[in-house]
C-alpha cells in the first residue's frame, strides 16, 4: 500500500465577484483539478508549480485541513478529514508561513507541550529531541520565547516540533521561504539526512528549486490544478529538451564556426571568441575535436541544464481554457 494515494482529487472554491453595482455573481474556481498520485514509503517528493497552481490546496487536503470537493485522498491508509485526529498522530506538518509553536512560551516548553498533545513516551521524545538539537543546533535558543526567535531559528524549531512524534509522513509547505543562505543550508541538510534514513516520507512544496535539486529524486509539477510532470529531474530535462551545453573559449574569433554532427551551435558570444554548443547526440569529445582542428582553444566548460529554465518554460506553456463561471 502506498503511503499517499490520491484519486481524482478536486477542490473547487466558490467566490463571489462583483458584477455591476449591487449584483454579485457566484463563480466556481477550480484550485485542484483531478490529481492522481501514489507516493511510496520513504520517497522524497518535490511538489512544485507556479503561484496559484494548487500546491498548498493539495497539501491542505492531505493534512485534513480542507475537505476535497471530489475524489479520494488516503494518507497512511486514513481519510484525512474523516480521520483527522488519528492522522495527525502519524504526520508532521510544517507550513512555512504559520507557526505551530506557542508564541509566548520558550521553545523548550512548546516541545514539552507537544509531547503531551501527541502522547509520546518520554524516552522517545527525549531521543528525537536530542537528535534534532544536534542536527539543527537548537541549544543556543531553546529557552528563548518563540516570538523572539529569528525566522531561521523559528523554522528549525518548527521542523523539530513536526518530528517529535515520529511521523511517517512529513509535509513541508515552503520550508525555506525567507531564510538566509546559512539557514537554508541547515534546513536542507537536515531534510536530506532525514530522507537518507529512509522511513519518513517527505512531501515538499517550494519555490526554491535548489531545494528540489538537493533533496528530491521525484518531482511532481502541477499547473492549473493538474499534474503536468511526474518523474525524476532527469526525465524532466529529457522531456522538455533541456540539454547540457559546451562552452568553448577561443584565443581569436572564428568567422565560420564548425558544425559538428549532433551538437548544433547554440549561440556565439564575445565577438566570436566564445562558442556555445548544445549537446544532443554528440559528446563533449566530438565538439572539442571539431574545434581543435580550426582554432586555438583556451578553455572548455560544460554547463549543466538549469532546472529553473525548464520549469519556467513549463509554466509558460499555454494555459488550458480560462475558468468560466459555472
Amino acid at each position: 500500500m502506498s503511503v499517499i494515494e490520491l484519486d481524482g482529487l478536486r477542490k473547487e472554491f466558490t467566490v463571489r465577484v462583483k458584477a455591476g453595482r449591487l449584483r454579485r455573481e457566484k463563480r466556481t474556481v477550480t484550485a485542484v483539478d483531478g490529481i492522481d498520485l501514489r507516493v511510496e514509503r520513504g520517497e522524497l517528493l518535490g511538489y512544485i508549480g507556479p503561484n496559484g497552481a494548487g500546491k498548498s490546496t493539495t497539501l491542505k487536503m492531505l493534512t485534513g485541513v480542507l475537505s476535497p470537493s471530489a475524489g479520494q485522498a488516503r494518507v497512511c491508509g486514513l481519510r484525512p478529514v474523516a480521520d483527522r485526529t488519528r492522522l495527525a498522530l502519524r504526520i508532521g506538518v510544517v507550513f512555512g508561513q504559520r507557526s505551530q509553536l506557542w508564541w509566548d512560551l520558550p521553545l523548550a516548553d512548546s516541545f514539552d507541550l507537544l509531547r503531551h498533545l501527541y502522547r509520546v513516551p518520554a524516552a522517545d521524545h527525549a531521543a528525537r529531541l536530542r537528535r534534532c538539537r544536534d542536527l539543527l543546533d537548537l541549544d543556543a535558543f531553546l529557552d528563548t520565547p518563540v516570538r523572539q526567535l529569528s525566522l531561521g531559528q523559528r523554522m528549525r524549531g518548527e521542523l523539530t516540533a513536526a518530528l517529535l512524534h515520529g511521523p511517517q509522513v512529513l509535509f513541508l509547505d515552503e520550508p525555506t521561504i525567507g531564510l538566509d543562505v546559512v539557514s537554508k543550508q541547515a534546513v536542507r541538510g537536515f531534510l536530506a539526512e532525514l530522507g537518507r534514513a529512509g522511513d519518513t516520507t517527505l512531501v515538499l512544496t517550494t519555490h526554491d528549486l535548489a531545494d528540489i535539486e538537493r533533496l528530491c529524486a521525484r518531482l511532481v509539477v502541477i499547473d492549473h490544478g493538474r499534474v503536468v510532470h511526474d518523474g525524476s529531474i532527469a526525465a524532466l530535462h529529457a522531456r522538455y529538451g533541456s540539454r547540457r551545453l559546451v562552452v568553448a573559449e577561443l584565443d581569436a574569433p572564428l568567422p565560420t564556426p564548425p558544425q559538428p554532427v549532433g551538437a548544433p551551435l547554440h549561440r556565439v558570444e564575445a565577438d566570436g571568441r566564445r562558442l556555445v554548443y548544445t549537446l544532443e547526440s554528440a559528446g563533449v569529445a566530438e565538439v572539442v575535436s571539431a574545434l581543435a582542428g580550426v582554432a586555438a582553444l583556451r578553455d572548455v566548460s560544460i554547463v549543466e541544464p538549469d532546472i529553473e529554465d525548464v520549469v519556467a518554460r513549463l509554466y509558460r506553456t499555454p494555459a488550458p481554457d480560462p475558468r468560466r463561471p459555472a
Binding site: K60, Q100, H116
Partner: protein
Amino acid sequence: MRAYRALLGAQARSQTAYRASFLLDLLGNVGATVFDVVTVLVIYGVTRELGGFTLRETLVMVGLSSSAFAVADLLVGNIERLPGLVRTGLFDAVLVRPLGTLPQLLLMNLPLRKVSRGVFGVGVLVVALGSAGIDWTPARVALAVVAPLAGVVFFGSIFVATATVSFWWVDSGELANSVTYGGRDFTSYPVTVFEGWFRAAFAYGLGFAFVSYQPALVLLGRADPLGLPPWAGWAAPAVALVAAALAAAAWRTGVRHYRSTGS
C-alpha cells in the same frame, strides 16, 4: 485528557507570568458584571415593579443570568477569536493537531482573568436566592443547582453557534456579539418587560426564557403571567441540551466548510 491538562497548564503559566497585571485584570473583569446589577438597582430606584416583578424577584433572574453568562464566557467566550483565526488561516494549526478542534480552541487561550467574573456572578445568585424569601423544597434546591448549569451550557452553545457563522462569513463578529451580549441583557429582566415579535424571537425562538425567567418563576413559586405551565421552568436542561446539540452540529459543518487562506 492529559493532553488537555497540559494545554491548560501552559495557558496558566503564560497568563500569570506578570502577576500584578494579572491581578488588575482579575479586578477589572468584575466590573462588567457589577454593572448589570447596578443597572437593575437603578431602574428599581424609579419604579417598584418591573413587568410585574419586584426587585428581589428580578435579582434572582439577574443572578441566574449573570452566573451562567460569566461562567460560559470564562469557558467558551474565548471562541470570539475564531473570526480572526479563520481570516488569517491560523485555524490550520488547530486542524493538524491530534485533538478536537473546539476543546483546543477553547483551551488555547482560556481567559483565566475572567475567573473573577464567574465568582462574582455566582455570588450574586447566592445572595439573590437567599434574600428572595424562597420556600425551599428539595425540588427547588435541585433546580437552583441545575438551572445555572443549564444556563452555562445554553450560553456556551450560543457562543459556539454564533462564532460558527464566521466560517461562512468572516465579518460576523458584531452579529455574534449582538446575540450573545444581547442574550445576557435579555435574561437579566423578566420576559414580561419585552413585547411582540422581539419577545417571541428571543425568549422562545432562541430559548433565552429558559435561562432565567422560567426557572425563576418555579423557584419563586409564581405562575407564569404569560401562561406557560410550571414544568417550563424544569425544561431548562432539555433546552440547553438541544441548544448544545445544534451548536455542535453547526460547528462540525462549519469546520468542513473552512476554506483556509492561500499560503
